[in-house]
Symmetry: C2
Subunit: 196 residues, 2 copies
């Protein structure tokens, strides 16, 4: 963009962010260096802190900074119910309904054969070990109602039924083709109650 290899390197690094092309990256770099040097250093520090502190919960696989996240540490929850979601944002959407009081497993992705994302890439072995702890009796599949989310639910559901667990799916009160994160709370709450 200008006479600076540091600036070029910054634009290249910003392009690694999802949804950021060459023009957006240039505009971001210009904004940071021209108008927000404080924000530039703040973002640099936040990235480093997150990269060194954020790990996966040993039980539910979500992002956390300890060995086990606060939800998994909450002993008042119902250990017989395990809800499987794709991302922390989906888990947060379910939590906001206040309807579900069991535990979660966060896949941190979904099966996506076309993109080369198979069972090993989304930690299904870790899920199966968690679901077969002897306490869980019902696994609620709350993956998104997209083609990939449905396929993921299908694969997980088949495997867990074979191992003797009761497997349910969020009721199709959730509009088909949508992503949980963007669905209103009432619809999600209703779908939880009507799970089948």
């Amino acid at each position: 963009m200008a006479d600076s290899s540091s600036l070029d390197a910054l634009v290249e690094a910003l392009r690694r962010l999802p949804g950021v092309g060459a023009k957006s990256a240039s505009r971001m770099a210009f904004h940071l260096l021209q108008h927000d040097r404080e924000g530039t250093l703040m973002l640099a520090r936040a990235l480093q802190q997150a990269a060194s502190n954020v790990r996966h919960c040993e039980r539910c696989n979500t992002f956390t900074e300890g060995q086990v996240c606060s939800v998994c540490q909450d002993a008042r929850r119902d250990g017989t119910k395990l809800c499987v979601v794709e991302t922390p944002a989906d888990q947060a959407a379910l939590e906001r309904t206040g309807v579900f009081r069991g535990y979660y497993f966060v896949l941190m992705g979904k099966l996506s054969p076309l993109d080369g994302v198979g069972p090993n890439d989304i930690g299904l072995a870790k899920l199966f070990a968690r679901a077969l702890d002897g306490t869980v009796s019902e696994v609620i599949l709350a993956t998104n109602f997209t083609a990939e989310g449905e396929a993921t639910a299908h694969v997980i559901g088949d495997a867990l039924k074979q191992r003797g667990l009761s497997v349910t799916r969020l009721a199709r009160g959730v509009p088909a083709g949508s992503e949980l994160e963007y669905v209103d709370l009432g619809t999600i709450a209703h779908a939880l109650v009507d799970r089948r």
Copy 2:
């Protein structure tokens, strides 16, 4: 998003980027931590490097790492012509036409009274000192053909004409309402030749 204050801080820092809202920031943080830890650290380093290395050229005000940028150091250029642009990206668009062989001054912004951006905020004093170096005889105003770019050109043009300089504007071959960065090279080249 999840059980991590480092993650929350990262999402907040990403929201300072232009055009990035809460949802985008969450998705970016998720992508970086789940799929691109290497990119996370690369971006952190690039931000720090740019923040400490990038400064403004003493002559033309663009981003550079030395005192004077490579364009200003190029002695083969025509010192009688000075082209005023809003941003380094606009300068790059003009350079790609190969038509202009004078020097530049980069405002790093534009007058925008509604946003509280006045003459002191875009370094007009630095421009006037540069334009009145005794060698410059023609100042070509190549600010964008938006309302703010036109107003900026008007203010600069009036001031420099009063100081005895010849002032021209890119010909209106450039479609009104558009930004230089997105205009095709032929149109920009034509507008340079037809400057008035």
